[in-house]
Structure formats: C-alpha cells, structure tokens
Amino acid sequence: MPRTSHWIVRRLSHLDGILLVLVLLLLGISLAVVASASGQSPARISGLLVNMGLALSVMVVMANIPPHLLSKVGPPLYVAGVVLLIGVALFGEIRNGSRRWLNLGFMAFQPSELLKLALPLMLAWYFQRNEGLLRAKHFLTGAILLLVPFLLILRQPDLGTALMIGASGFYLLFFAGLPWKVILGGGILGAAALPVMWGLMHDYQQRRVLTLLDPSSDPLGAGYHIIQSTIAIGSGGLFGKGWMQGTQNQLDFIPERTTDFVFAVFGEEFGYAGVILLVGLYLAIVARGLVIAARAPTLFGRLMAATLSLNLFTYVFVNMGMVSGILPVVGVPLPLMSYGGTALITLLLGMGILMSVATHRQLNKS
C-alpha cells in the first residue's frame, strides 16, 4: 500500500461509521428537499454541494484532532468570542434593528456563532481541569462563564441565539453534575421571573410570542409564516404530496423554504411518514452521541459528546416546533437540512468532535 493511501485510511479511520451514515443520509435528504424547494436551482444545489463538501472536510479534520488537544482550544476561543461580542456591542453593524454583525472588512461575521462551540469547549475544559474536585464554586464559575456571552448576545438583541447558547451551557453544567436542587430552584425562579422577562422583551419579541398564540391575529405579517408552514405540513397528510409536488412549496407560499422553513417543504412533500423517518434519524444521531458520551474515557469527552448530542436535538426541536407552530419564530435552522454554510460547518464541526471522542477512546485503549 502506498504511503499516501495509508495516511488517508488512517485519517478516515477516525470517523464513526454509524454517525457518518446518519449524517450522509440527512445530507442526502437535505439535497433532495432543497432541490425541490429551490425549484431545482443549479446555483442552490451546487452551493449546497460545496457547503457539504467543505463541512464534511471540516468534520474529517476535527475527528482527527485528539480530545486533549481540542480541550486546549477552549479558553482562547472563548476569550476571543467574548472579546468579539464586546466589539459588536461597541462597533457592531446594525442589521434589521439589532447589533449582531461585526464587519471584518472582507466579510460580515456574527461572533455569536463562534460561541456556540466555544462555550461548551470552555466549560468542558474547565470541568475537566477540576475533575473529581467539583464543588459549588466550580458550578458558580461555570454559571458566570455561561452568563457573560449569554447576556451580551441577549443585549444585541438576539433572544433566539442567546437561548440556544444558554441551553448548550446549561446542558454542560447539567452533565457535569449541577445539583438537582439548583436546577429545580432555578426553574421555579425562572418561572416566577417570566412576567418580568416579558416586560423586558422587545416589542418584536413579544409580538412573535403573541403571534404564536394566535397566528390569525396577524395573517399578513409575522403570522403569515406560521400559517403557511402549518398549512404546508398539514396538507402533506400521511405520505405527503410527493417530491416536487408540494403546492405550498412550488407556488411560493412557504417563506424561507430552503433555509429556516425547509421542514415545511419536507412535511408537505413527504408527509407524516417522512417526518417520523426524519425525527428517527435525528434520534439515532442523539442516541449514538449519548453512547459515545457514555463510553468516553475523559470528562471532557463525556461532557462534549453529551452536550453536543442534546444541543443538536434542541436545534431540531426549536426549528420544527417553530415551523409547525408550537414555538415562536426564531431564526434557527434545521440541523443538516437547512441551506446555509456557516450553520452546516458548525454542525459538522460538532459531529467531528463527537467522532474524535468516539475514535480516540478506542485508540487510547489499544
């Protein structure tokens, strides 16, 4: 065997077979649905293929980085992310009424994206360092590490991203052993604070929640998205209208249908059977992720694998819940399905980390 192919085989051996198959299945579905939703636009399809290629490469790279190296990236990445967030707060560009973007000259960049991975990495690194000695102060420090970016993003304002990042931080604290008393106490406090939160919410945020409660109150405005996407999903029925046959999709009634609302297209064209399959695939990924977490040799690996798995499903839940009308409209893409380069790369980066945790465990043992 030539040396190069030997090298490639070694790199590829760090991929987790089960995860790889699941990811490729979802990407295949994504390709089909985006093709249908974009009216077989060659630009969209080739764009999606490029994104997928890029993201899969990133995944392979990540899978080959051993967890103990990965954990060292946590603190600098986190610090950089928080600094950039502060930069956004001071110098950020305002788009659509909120300050989320940082203009780097050659590209506009959302530092909050960076935190999606940086925060779990940072926390996992921190708890790994204190493995076996965990006390209240460590959880307190963890909570502060969580709250700093959370509040910065909330201020932008970007409630959706703040909550998603907050959730990933919370999962990590939870898996690290955050006491139930604190969780329950916090939950009760949070519920009590809801009215206060409501008062602090921006008008458009309040409107989104109200629209969710009664979409018909604003049928041409914010409610239009929810109404049209629920019509699309509901009209799909048990087996759907068939690929490229969804009238809501083809006749342009579904907004943002290659990106955030891609699930509406899927639900319309593939029906309830398709939805079961899709949710099943996501559950399989989560299950695999949790198995990887259970078998991981280090606390860092365990926390990362468990958090990334739950995080993935949280995205799935928030997106599908939004599109099917049980959650407010927040700009969260459907993992591995929505068109969008950054999100896909971030996700496969996470998958790569999962694979790294999975395969380096085996390598360590051998």
Partner: protein, 630 residues
C-alpha cells in the same frame, strides 16, 4: 455553600454522569414525542382542513361574466344589444391624491363636467377597492394616450367592458327599462335570494322594465375559470373552466314600428297607449309619453341629468300605462251595460226617457248628463253609442254598488293585470267594504250614481282598461298581458314560445255580449260619439270614449302659463278593438289633458289600427321613422 457535595470518587462521579445521560435521553424522547404529536395533529387529525386551506391558497376562481341576452321585437329587430367598449376606471385605494390624478387625466383626455359629476356620485356609493368608471366609450386615440401615460397614473386602468345599447330610442324606454350598475341595495337583494355568486363577475343588473322583470333569463350564468395562482396572486395556469352560460334572448309581441306609429300619433300630447292581441294577450305596443333615453343609465347617470328627469313636470320616468291611474269615466259604460244584461237588471229593449238630469228619490240634487237637455228616448245600444249618463245613473242605482263591484271585478278592474313588467298599479274598484275599511264610512247612494259612469272613487290604469276590453273582444277570456313572446337560448338557436297567461273565462251570454259589441260599433258609426275618427277606414271598429279628471298624475302647479290652461283639461280616454267582427287588436289610449276622448284619443287609436291592420302609416310621419322601419 453546602449544596455542592465534593466528589472525590471518580467512579461515583461517572455513575452520576450515566444517570444524567439517562435523564438527557428521556428529555430528548419527550421533545421528540412532542414534535411527532404535533405533526400527527397537523398531518393526520387536521389533514382535511389543511388540504382544503392549501387548495384555496392555490386555486382562485376568476368569474367570467356571461353575455346578456338580446331583446328583439316581434319582427326580429334588435331593441337592446351589447357592445364592448374601453372604459377608464379608477380604484381610489390605489391613488395618492384623487384630485391631482383627475387633473392629470383631464390634461390627457377630455373629461366633461357631466362625466365628472357622475364619477363623483359613483365614487361616493362605492367602496375604496372597487373600480369606478370615469369615462366610458373611449376612442382608440384616448386609449392610446392613456396607455402611453399609464406608468404615471397608478390606480387608473383601461378596461374592455360590455355595455348595453338601446337603439330603439326614448319611446321604448318604458318597455325595455334599463340596466345600471349593481348598487348596495341590489347586492343585498341578490344576497337574500342567494344569487350573489352568479353576479361575481357582473357589473350591471336590470333596474326597470323588461331588463328588470326578465333579469334572471337575460343575465345568464356566470362562469368560473379555476386558476392556479402563486403566493403573489399571479396566475400560473388554468386548471379548469366552467364557461359562462349566456343570457337568453327575448322576442317581444311588440312591433317597434307600430310603437313608433302610436307614439307619433300623440303629436305633442303626452299620455299612454297600450295595444293588445285579445287572443294571446301579447302586448303589440306600449307607449308612455314622454319617454327618456335609457342609455343614460347604463353606466351611471350624472346627478344633474337625473334631477332634471326626476323633477320634470312631465314626469318622463313614470310609465303611464302601468302606473297612471285615472277614473275610467265613460269607458266603463259597455261593462256596466253588460252587467245590467247579465244580472237581469236590464233587457236590451228597455228604454228610458232622458230629460238631461237624474235625481235620487227624496233628493233634490240633480246629476246631470254631459249633454244639455238629454238624449231623449234611449235603449241599451243607444246608451253606449250616445254615452248617455242618465241611463247609467239609473242602471247603477238599480244594480246597487255591491253587484256592480262584483261584476266589474270579473273583468279585472281594480286589480293588477299581471303583465310581465314590475311596478304595475292596481287602481281601485270601489265597494261598500272598501269604503268602510279605508275611510270608516258607510257607502252613500249618491256615490253609486256617479260610479255608474266611472267616476268617484273608481281608478284604472290604461293597461287594465285594455285587458278588460280584450274580454269584450274575445268573449270573456281573461288574459294576462305579455310583452315577451318567445325566449331563445343563444347556443341552441331555437325560439321557445312563452305561454300566454290566462286567468280564466267569464261566462257571458253571447246574445248579451253581441248587443254591447253592437253598441260599441255604433259609437264608431255615423251618429256615434267617435264616428269621425274612423271615417273611411276599410275595417270596422268597436270602441268607447271617455274623459277622466286629473287625478292620477298631478302636475306641478308652477308651470308655463300656456300649458296651465291645457293642464286643467280632462284626460281623454278611448278603448277600442278592431276588426269589430273578428278582433285582432285591442287598444286603450289615454291622452293627458286631451279634453274629449273622441277628439284626441280616438285618432291615436285609428293610426294604430291603420298601421296594424293595413300597414298604412300616418301621412305626416317623419322620414326618420321610415328609416327606422327599413
């Protein structure tokens, strides 16, 4: 703080992690269940609802208005037809500033003050999103100018619309009526009748005349194009098409040339005439003078013209034949004579001596004859030919008001005839009951006396008189006058005859009827009251003249002095049929302020008989009428 337990034992920490993993798994399972439950609800439970919502999203029904049916006269001459014309229409909701836009348009094409007034009236009656016509019948040049400037004038649209043209002139207005734009009242009525859907593509609806009474037939059924549309409402393709069913064409009994002859025969008098076929009830002519131009109404009339039409002392909008109510006067006498014979109150041979007046027993009040000194010895036949009032005063008293009312009612007097036009008046046939109900007063004997010569409370329309006269002509068959003879489905091309309406047969002793008819023929013979009007006619006529005091149509008190004198004159009445032996036409004429029936009304009937029976037109009839005939 105390709540965090330090775990020095890595195994215990690992065990706790595994516990947390299970909690995480349960959490994810719960979320997944929620998603699947929601999807189940939408896609299985509510599927029917959402599939219907998706369909109504995607499919829009574009109404296709049917072509309105034509109206033709008995010879196939077109009286009402459709034409397509370009109209400049305005949607107010799309305008920034109405006045600026109107000024801009005014610079491009001519907008007359009348058009502007009409536009403002229509605008005030319509909703913001309705399109309102500003100017119709645009010339090709105007269409081109507007098309070139369209980009500057949002909210303005040039549209091809179907219009109605009434080419038979003002004389036919009372028969045809007119269509007008559908207003809120029409819409409400359509909704109540459940016909709203059928008018989704329609702009016009019949407002009066035949256009109104035959609206359902003339309108047709609206078709629908089922279009697939995208979210911006653009039609992507046609899914199916339910073609509109055009309205039915109507062919009338009416002869438009006979109508013109009759109208012309009035000269400068106003009044009404109706000619019926006594056998079928077909309306051969129906004139109400003055008429008006029905074309004014089709696209909305401007308020000033409407006001002048409505407030004119000549009342051009009132159909005198249907709605003018007049005391029948002496035209009641043949019916009274027949009543006397049929009820056994008189024999044909009974005669009276007419001293020129009549008094009730125990009363000094004298009811006078129209002829000073009276008619001498008068029998029943002569009572008709001489129109002897005294004869009928006595007859009425001998008969009594109750029997008089009941017998005359058989001829449809005081009752709507049931013609196929709306808005007919019923007139009034007085009776003891009626007076008690209406006035809470007993019937006085003197009222019976004047009722005998068709005066007092008695009121009839010219149409009623014609229908009653037709019963004398056809031997007692009570026909309902009908304008429409046949109906044609424009796709099938075959005419379907409409059945004439018959309300039954009054049994009349033929001998009695023959005497009355002889009396009416005597009227037209030398020595009769209307003999002069039929001098030299190659056919025989049976008729009866009458006069009516001004009751039905009161005219404005302040009017031109030269007319004032005329307007105090009685209305002239005349009923007749011809040929007397075998009648084919019955006529009732009312000449407003015509004075005597023989002097003004009978000559009008003569002209109608001449044309109908011999084809002869009045010698002085203008050329344009001849043009219309060719």
């Amino acid at each position: 703080m105390k709540y965090a337990t330090p775990l020095k034992n890595l195994d215990r920490e690992l065990a706790r992690f595994h516990g947390r993993l299970k909690v995480g798994a349960v959490f994810v399972a719960l979320l997944a269940t929620a998603l699947l439950a929601r999807a189940f609800y939408l896609q299985i439970v509510q599927h029917d609802y959402y599939i219907q919502r998706a369909e109504s999203n995607r499919i829009s029904l574009v109404p296709a208005a049917p072509n309105r049916g034509l109206i033709l006269d008995r010879n196939g001459r077109i009286l009402a037809e459709n034409y397509s014309a370009y109209t400049l229409e305005v949607t107010r909701a799309l305008l920034d500033n109405l006045e600026v836009t109107l000024a801009e348009v005014g610079k491009l094409i001519e907008i007359t003050p009348g058009q502007l007034r009409r536009f403002r009236r229509l605008l005030s009656e319509s909703h913001e999103f309705e399109t309102v016509p500003l100017k119709s019948k645009l010339t090709d040049e105007e269409v081109a100018i507007l098309a070139a400037n369209r980009y500057r004038l949002p909210g303005l649209d040039v549209k091809a619309r179907l219009f109605r043209n009434y080419q038979a002139g003002p004389g036919m207005a009372h028969v045809l009526g007119f269509i007008g734009r559908i207003n809120d009242r029409d819409l409400k009525k359509l909704r109540e009748d459940g016909r709203e859907q059928n008018y989704r593509g329609s702009v016009h609806i019949g407002k009066t005349g035949l256009e109104q009474s035959y609206e359902t037939l003339l309108h047709g059924r609206t078709g629908f194009d089922q279009m697939e549309t995208d979210s911006s409402g653009r039609a992507v393709r046609m899914l199916s098409r339910i073609p509109p069913v055009p309205g039915k064409d109507l062919r009338l009994h009416l002869d438009v040339e006979l109508q013109a002859v009759a109208e012309h025969a009035f000269g400068d008098y106003l009044g009404g005439l109706v000619a019926l076929d006594p056998n079928t009830g077909g309306v051969l002519a129906l004139v109400s003078k003055p008429g008006f131009d029905p074309n004014l109404f089709v696209d909305g009339i401007d308020p000033e013209t409407w006001k002048s039409l409505n407030e004119s002392p000549e009342r051009p909008m009132v159909n005198r034949v249907l709605r003018g109510i007049y005391p029948p006067g002496s035209t009641i006498k043949p019916f009274m004579a027949l009543a006397g014979l049929e009820l056994g109150v008189r024999k044909a041979s009974d005669s009276i001596v007419d001293p020129g007046y009549f008094s009730l027993p125990n009363s000094r009040h004298q009811f006078r004859d129209w002829k000073r000194g009276g008619h001498g010895v008068v029998d029943l036949r002569r009572s008709i030919s001489q129109s002897c009032d005294i004869y009928y005063y006595r007859l009425a008293v001998d008969m009594g008001i109750d029997r008089m009312h009941d017998y005359l009612a058989k001829f449809g007097l005081g009752e709507k005839t049931g013609i196929d036009l709306e808005g007919e008046s019923s007139g009034l046939l007085p009776s003891r009951d009626w007076k008690q109900r209406r006035w809470k007063q007993p019937w006085y004997p003197g009222e019976t006396v004047i009722a005998g010569i068709g005066q007092g409370y008695h009121l009839t329309t010219p149409l009623q008189l014609a229908a009653a006269t037709a019963m004398l002509a056809n031997g007692g068959r009570r026909i309902e006058p009908r304008l429409v003879q046949a109906v044609r489905d424009p796709l099938a091309h075959t005419w379907q005859l409409q059945p004439g309406g018959v309300r039954g047969q009054v049994a009349i002793d033929p001998a009695h009827l023959a005497i009355v008819r002889e009396g009416m023929m005597d009227v037209m013979r030398p020595g009769g009251t209307a003999a002069a009007s039929v001098a030299g006619a190659p056919y025989t006529v049976a008729g009866k003249t009458g006069t009516a005091q001004v009751v039905g149509i009161k005219q404005g008190a302040r009017y031109d002095a030269s007319r004032l004198a005329r307007q105090h004159r009685d209305h002239a009445l005349f009923i007749a049929y011809a040929p007397a032996e075998n009648p084919t036409i019955v006529v009732a004429v009312m000449v407003e302020n015509g004075g005597s029936g023989s002097g003004t009304a009978a000559p009008v009937a003569r002209a109608v008989f001449d044309y109908y029976l011999t084809g002869k037109r009045p010698g002085d009839m203008k050329l344009e009428a001849n043009d219309a005939a060719d």
